[in-house]
Protein backbone atom coordinates (compact mmCIF):
# COMPACT_ATOMS: atom_id res chain seq x y z
CA UNK A 1 0.00 0.00 0.00
CA UNK A 2 1.55 3.35 -0.99
CA UNK A 3 1.71 5.63 1.98
CA UNK A 4 0.18 9.08 2.16
CA UNK A 5 1.66 11.37 4.78
CA UNK A 6 -0.42 14.33 5.86
CA UNK A 7 1.99 16.76 7.51
CA UNK A 8 0.73 19.97 9.07
CA UNK A 9 3.39 22.55 9.83
CA UNK A 10 5.32 20.96 6.96
CA UNK A 11 7.13 24.18 6.08
CA UNK A 12 8.96 24.23 9.43
CA UNK A 13 12.58 23.16 9.67
CA UNK A 14 11.49 19.86 11.25
CA UNK A 15 8.70 19.39 8.71
CA UNK A 16 11.02 19.78 5.76
CA UNK A 17 13.66 17.49 7.27
CA UNK A 18 10.98 14.89 7.94
CA UNK A 19 9.65 15.05 4.37
CA UNK A 20 13.16 14.54 3.05
CA UNK A 21 13.63 11.53 5.30
CA UNK A 22 10.27 9.95 4.50
CA UNK A 23 10.57 10.34 0.74
CA UNK A 24 14.24 9.40 0.46
CA UNK A 25 13.48 5.73 -0.26
CA UNK A 26 9.80 5.85 -1.03
CA UNK A 27 9.15 6.74 -4.69
CA UNK A 28 5.49 5.77 -4.38
CA UNK A 29 4.73 7.83 -1.25
CA UNK A 30 2.85 11.11 -1.27
CA UNK A 31 3.15 13.99 1.20
CA UNK A 32 0.21 16.33 1.69
CA UNK A 33 2.09 19.29 3.11
CA UNK A 34 0.32 22.12 4.93
CA UNK A 35 1.94 25.49 5.47
CA UNK A 36 0.60 28.97 6.09
CA UNK A 37 1.80 31.77 3.82
CA UNK A 38 5.23 30.19 3.41
CA UNK A 39 4.85 27.41 0.85
CA UNK A 40 7.92 28.67 -1.00
CA UNK A 41 9.91 26.83 1.66
CA UNK A 42 8.71 23.58 0.05
CA UNK A 43 9.93 24.52 -3.44
CA UNK A 44 13.20 22.62 -3.13
CA UNK A 45 11.46 19.46 -1.92
CA UNK A 46 8.84 19.74 -4.66
CA UNK A 47 11.55 19.82 -7.31
CA UNK A 48 13.60 17.03 -5.73
CA UNK A 49 10.58 14.75 -5.35
CA UNK A 50 8.46 15.64 -8.39
CA UNK A 51 4.76 14.90 -7.93
CA UNK A 52 5.26 13.50 -4.44
CA UNK A 53 4.81 16.69 -2.41
CA UNK A 54 1.45 18.45 -2.63
CA UNK A 55 1.51 21.79 -0.80
CA UNK A 56 -1.58 23.33 0.81
CA UNK A 57 -1.75 26.89 2.12
CA UNK A 58 -4.10 26.78 5.13
CA UNK A 59 -4.47 29.06 8.16
CA UNK A 60 -4.98 26.52 10.94
CA UNK A 61 -6.08 29.23 13.38
CA UNK A 62 -9.34 29.51 11.42
CA UNK A 63 -11.72 26.61 12.08
CA UNK A 64 -13.70 27.18 8.88
CA UNK A 65 -10.48 27.00 6.84
CA UNK A 66 -9.45 23.80 8.62
CA UNK A 67 -12.82 22.27 7.79
CA UNK A 68 -12.50 23.35 4.17
CA UNK A 69 -9.01 21.85 4.10
CA UNK A 70 -10.18 18.44 5.30
CA UNK A 71 -13.05 18.51 2.80
CA UNK A 72 -10.60 19.35 0.03
CA UNK A 73 -8.34 16.49 1.07
CA UNK A 74 -11.27 14.06 1.17
CA UNK A 75 -12.29 15.07 -2.35
CA UNK A 76 -8.91 15.29 -4.00
CA UNK A 77 -6.28 13.23 -2.21
CA UNK A 78 -5.75 9.65 -1.11
CA UNK A 79 -6.74 8.99 2.51
CA UNK A 80 -3.74 9.68 4.74
CA UNK A 81 -2.08 6.61 6.20
CA UNK A 82 0.04 8.84 8.43
CA UNK A 83 -0.80 12.16 10.06
CA UNK A 84 2.01 14.24 11.55
CA UNK A 85 0.97 17.45 13.32
CA UNK A 86 3.78 19.96 13.90
CA UNK A 87 2.39 23.52 13.92
CA UNK A 88 2.71 25.86 16.89
CA UNK A 89 3.29 29.53 17.49
CA UNK A 90 6.90 30.19 18.48
CA UNK A 91 7.48 29.84 22.20
CA UNK A 92 7.67 33.14 24.08
CA UNK A 93 9.33 33.56 27.43
CA UNK A 94 6.79 35.61 29.39
CA UNK A 95 5.77 35.81 33.01
CA UNK A 96 2.20 34.87 33.82
CA UNK A 97 1.42 38.47 34.75
CA UNK A 98 2.04 39.29 31.09
CA UNK A 99 -0.02 36.34 29.81
CA UNK A 100 -1.31 37.07 26.31
CA UNK A 101 -4.78 35.54 26.23
CA UNK A 102 -5.40 36.34 22.57
CA UNK A 103 -2.15 34.74 21.47
CA UNK A 104 -2.83 31.71 23.65
CA UNK A 105 -6.30 31.25 22.13
CA UNK A 106 -4.75 31.42 18.66
CA UNK A 107 -2.06 28.91 19.61
CA UNK A 108 -4.72 26.53 20.94
CA UNK A 109 -6.55 26.81 17.62
CA UNK A 110 -3.38 26.07 15.67
CA UNK A 111 -2.01 23.31 17.87
CA UNK A 112 -5.00 21.65 19.50
CA UNK A 113 -8.33 22.42 17.83
CA UNK A 114 -6.97 21.90 14.32
CA UNK A 115 -5.47 18.58 15.46
CA UNK A 116 -8.83 17.45 16.81
CA UNK A 117 -10.65 18.42 13.63
CA UNK A 118 -8.11 16.77 11.35
CA UNK A 119 -7.96 13.63 13.50
CA UNK A 120 -11.74 13.35 13.32
CA UNK A 121 -11.46 13.54 9.55
CA UNK A 122 -8.60 11.08 8.97
CA UNK A 123 -8.88 8.50 11.76
CA UNK A 124 -12.00 6.72 10.47
CA UNK A 125 -10.24 5.72 7.22
CA UNK A 126 -7.13 4.61 9.14
CA UNK A 127 -9.30 2.49 11.46
CA UNK A 128 -11.13 0.97 8.52
CA UNK A 129 -7.82 0.13 6.85
CA UNK A 130 -6.57 -1.34 10.13
CA UNK A 131 -3.43 0.73 9.77
CA UNK A 132 -2.43 4.23 10.69
CA UNK A 133 0.20 6.35 12.37
CA UNK A 134 -0.45 9.64 14.12
CA UNK A 135 2.42 11.66 15.52
CA UNK A 136 2.64 14.94 17.39
CA UNK A 137 5.54 17.04 18.49
CA UNK A 138 5.43 17.91 22.15
CA UNK A 139 8.20 19.34 24.29
CA UNK A 140 10.46 18.18 27.08
CA UNK A 141 8.93 21.05 29.10
CA UNK A 142 5.98 18.72 29.76
CA UNK A 143 8.30 16.15 31.38
CA UNK A 144 8.76 16.82 35.09
CA UNK A 145 9.16 20.42 36.19
CA UNK A 146 8.70 22.95 33.37
CA UNK A 147 10.82 26.10 33.16
CA UNK A 148 9.23 29.26 34.49
CA UNK A 149 7.54 31.73 32.14
CA UNK A 150 6.30 29.21 29.58
CA UNK A 151 2.70 28.68 30.78
CA UNK A 152 1.04 29.18 27.40
CA UNK A 153 3.38 26.82 25.60
CA UNK A 154 3.27 24.14 28.29
CA UNK A 155 -0.53 24.24 28.48
CA UNK A 156 -1.01 23.85 24.73
CA UNK A 157 1.52 21.03 24.54
CA UNK A 158 -0.03 19.31 27.57
CA UNK A 159 -3.40 19.35 25.81
CA UNK A 160 -1.79 17.55 22.89
CA UNK A 161 -0.35 15.02 25.33
CA UNK A 162 -3.87 14.31 26.59
CA UNK A 163 -5.12 13.88 23.04
CA UNK A 164 -2.31 11.45 22.24
CA UNK A 165 -3.02 9.20 25.21
CA UNK A 166 -6.76 9.23 24.65
CA UNK A 167 -6.56 8.47 20.94
CA UNK A 168 -3.91 5.82 21.49
CA UNK A 169 -6.23 3.81 23.73
CA UNK A 170 -9.27 4.32 21.56
CA UNK A 171 -7.61 3.34 18.27
CA UNK A 172 -5.16 0.67 19.41
CA UNK A 173 -7.47 -2.16 18.32
CA UNK A 174 -7.59 -0.74 14.81
CA UNK A 175 -3.84 -0.87 14.19
CA UNK A 176 -3.53 2.89 14.56
CA UNK A 177 -0.76 4.16 16.80
CA UNK A 178 -0.70 7.66 18.25
CA UNK A 179 2.51 9.00 19.75
CA UNK A 180 4.58 12.08 20.26
CA UNK A 181 8.20 13.08 20.41
CA UNK A 182 9.26 15.53 23.10
CA UNK A 183 12.43 17.33 22.10
CA UNK A 184 14.39 19.60 24.38
CA UNK A 185 15.21 23.05 23.03
CA UNK A 186 15.78 22.60 19.31
CA UNK A 187 17.78 25.11 17.32
CA UNK A 188 15.44 26.00 14.48
CA UNK A 189 13.63 29.05 13.21
CA UNK A 190 11.04 28.28 15.91
CA UNK A 191 13.36 29.98 18.40
CA UNK A 192 13.34 33.29 16.55
CA UNK A 193 11.58 35.00 19.49
CA UNK A 194 13.75 33.36 22.16
CA UNK A 195 16.69 35.45 23.43
CA UNK A 196 20.11 34.07 22.48
CA UNK A 197 21.14 33.95 26.14
CA UNK A 198 18.34 31.49 26.89
CA UNK A 199 19.35 29.32 23.93
CA UNK A 200 23.02 29.39 24.97
CA UNK A 201 22.17 28.63 28.60
CA UNK A 202 19.99 25.66 27.58
CA UNK A 203 22.86 24.28 25.49
CA UNK A 204 25.27 24.66 28.37
CA UNK A 205 22.92 22.98 30.85
CA UNK A 206 22.17 20.05 28.56
CA UNK A 207 24.13 16.91 29.60
CA UNK A 208 25.33 16.61 26.00
CA UNK A 209 26.46 20.23 26.02
CA UNK A 210 24.30 21.37 23.13
CA UNK A 211 20.72 21.85 22.02
CA UNK A 212 18.80 19.44 19.82
CA UNK A 213 18.67 19.81 16.04
CA UNK A 214 16.14 18.49 13.52
CA UNK A 215 18.71 15.82 12.62
CA UNK A 216 18.42 14.51 16.21
CA UNK A 217 14.63 14.53 16.28
CA UNK A 218 13.59 13.39 12.80
CA UNK A 219 14.99 9.83 13.15
CA UNK A 220 12.94 9.36 16.33
CA UNK A 221 9.87 10.58 14.45
CA UNK A 222 10.60 8.29 11.52
CA UNK A 223 10.85 5.36 13.92
CA UNK A 224 7.48 6.04 15.54
CA UNK A 225 5.96 6.38 12.05
CA UNK A 226 7.51 3.13 10.82
CA UNK A 227 5.77 -0.19 10.34
CA UNK A 228 8.09 -1.71 12.94
CA UNK A 229 6.76 0.57 15.69
CA UNK A 230 3.38 -1.14 15.46
CA UNK A 231 3.17 -2.05 19.17
CA UNK A 232 4.24 1.35 20.48
CA UNK A 233 1.36 3.70 21.15
CA UNK A 234 0.48 6.44 23.62
CA UNK A 235 4.17 7.17 24.08
CA UNK A 236 5.94 10.45 24.61
CA UNK A 237 9.48 9.84 23.41
CA UNK A 238 11.96 12.32 24.94
CA UNK A 239 14.70 13.45 22.54
CA UNK A 240 16.62 15.56 24.97
CA UNK A 241 20.28 14.60 25.24
CA UNK A 242 19.40 13.68 28.83
CA UNK A 243 18.06 17.08 29.89
CA UNK A 244 14.66 15.58 30.67
CA UNK A 245 14.33 11.94 31.60
CA UNK A 246 11.07 10.07 32.18
Amino acid sequence: MPYTYLITGATSDVGRALIERLLADAPDATVLAQGCGDLEKLADLCSRFPGQVRPFDVDLSDRAKVDTFVQLLAASAPAPTHFIHLPALPVVNAKFKAFDQTRFDRDLEIQVHSAVRICRAVLPAMAKAKFGRVLFIQTSYTIGCPPKNTAAYVMAKSALGGLVKSLAVEYARFGVTVNCVAPSMMETNFLKDTPDLIVQAAAEENPMGRNATPADVVPAMAFLLSDEARFITGVTLPVTGGSAIV
Binding site: K95, N149, P195, D196, L197, Q200, A201, E204
Partner: protein, 79 residues
Amino acid sequence: MTEQEILSAVQDIFRDNFDDDSLEITRSTCADDIEDWDSLEQINLLTAIEKKFNIKFKLADVRGLKDVGDLLDLVARMV
Protein backbone atom coordinates in the same frame (compact mmCIF):
# COMPACT_ATOMS: atom_id res chain seq x y z
CA MET B 1 25.66 57.63 29.67
CA THR B 2 26.49 58.05 33.36
CA GLU B 3 26.53 55.19 35.84
CA GLN B 4 23.58 56.81 37.60
CA GLU B 5 21.55 56.79 34.39
CA ILE B 6 22.41 53.15 33.82
CA LEU B 7 21.52 52.30 37.43
CA SER B 8 18.20 54.07 37.10
CA ALA B 9 17.29 52.19 33.92
CA VAL B 10 18.44 48.88 35.39
CA GLN B 11 16.41 49.54 38.53
CA ASP B 12 13.27 49.99 36.42
CA ILE B 13 14.01 46.66 34.78
CA PHE B 14 14.46 44.97 38.18
CA ARG B 15 11.20 46.51 39.46
CA ASP B 16 9.28 45.32 36.42
CA ASN B 17 10.85 41.87 36.42
CA PHE B 18 10.30 41.22 40.12
CA ASP B 19 6.94 43.00 40.14
CA ASP B 20 7.99 45.29 43.00
CA ASP B 21 7.69 49.05 42.44
CA SER B 22 9.50 49.86 45.67
CA LEU B 23 12.58 47.75 44.96
CA GLU B 24 15.80 49.76 45.47
CA ILE B 25 19.01 48.32 44.08
CA THR B 26 22.58 49.39 44.78
CA ARG B 27 25.96 48.28 43.48
CA SER B 28 26.13 45.65 46.22
CA THR B 29 22.68 44.13 45.59
CA CYS B 30 23.08 40.45 44.69
CA ALA B 31 20.95 37.34 44.17
CA ASP B 32 20.88 36.65 47.92
CA ASP B 33 19.02 39.93 48.48
CA ILE B 34 16.08 39.20 46.16
CA GLU B 35 14.17 36.02 46.84
CA ASP B 36 13.12 35.30 43.23
CA TRP B 37 16.50 36.04 41.66
CA ASP B 38 17.46 32.64 40.27
CA SER B 39 19.37 31.73 37.13
CA LEU B 40 16.33 32.05 34.88
CA GLU B 41 15.36 35.42 36.33
CA GLN B 42 18.94 36.52 35.80
CA ILE B 43 18.61 35.70 32.11
CA ASN B 44 15.30 37.57 31.98
CA LEU B 45 17.00 40.60 33.54
CA LEU B 46 19.88 40.38 31.10
CA THR B 47 17.65 40.06 28.05
CA ALA B 48 15.60 43.06 29.21
CA ILE B 49 18.85 45.00 29.66
CA GLU B 50 19.98 43.93 26.17
CA LYS B 51 16.75 45.34 24.74
CA LYS B 52 16.88 48.56 26.74
CA PHE B 53 20.48 49.42 25.87
CA ASN B 54 20.52 47.78 22.45
CA ILE B 55 23.49 45.59 23.34
CA LYS B 56 24.16 41.85 23.08
CA PHE B 57 25.69 39.80 25.89
CA LYS B 58 27.50 36.53 25.46
CA LEU B 59 27.04 33.82 28.07
CA ALA B 60 30.75 34.07 28.91
CA ASP B 61 30.34 37.81 29.60
CA VAL B 62 27.63 37.33 32.19
CA ARG B 63 28.68 34.11 33.89
CA GLY B 64 30.92 35.76 36.48
CA LEU B 65 28.60 38.58 37.52
CA LYS B 66 28.48 38.69 41.33
CA ASP B 67 26.27 41.70 41.97
CA VAL B 68 24.59 44.73 40.43
CA GLY B 69 27.91 46.58 40.46
CA ASP B 70 29.46 44.00 38.12
CA LEU B 71 26.39 44.24 35.93
CA LEU B 72 26.54 48.05 35.75
CA ASP B 73 30.25 47.93 34.89
CA LEU B 74 29.57 45.44 32.11
CA VAL B 75 26.77 47.56 30.66
CA ALA B 76 28.93 50.71 30.93
CA ARG B 77 31.67 49.00 28.88
CA MET B 78 29.17 48.07 26.15
CA VAL B 79 27.05 51.20 25.69
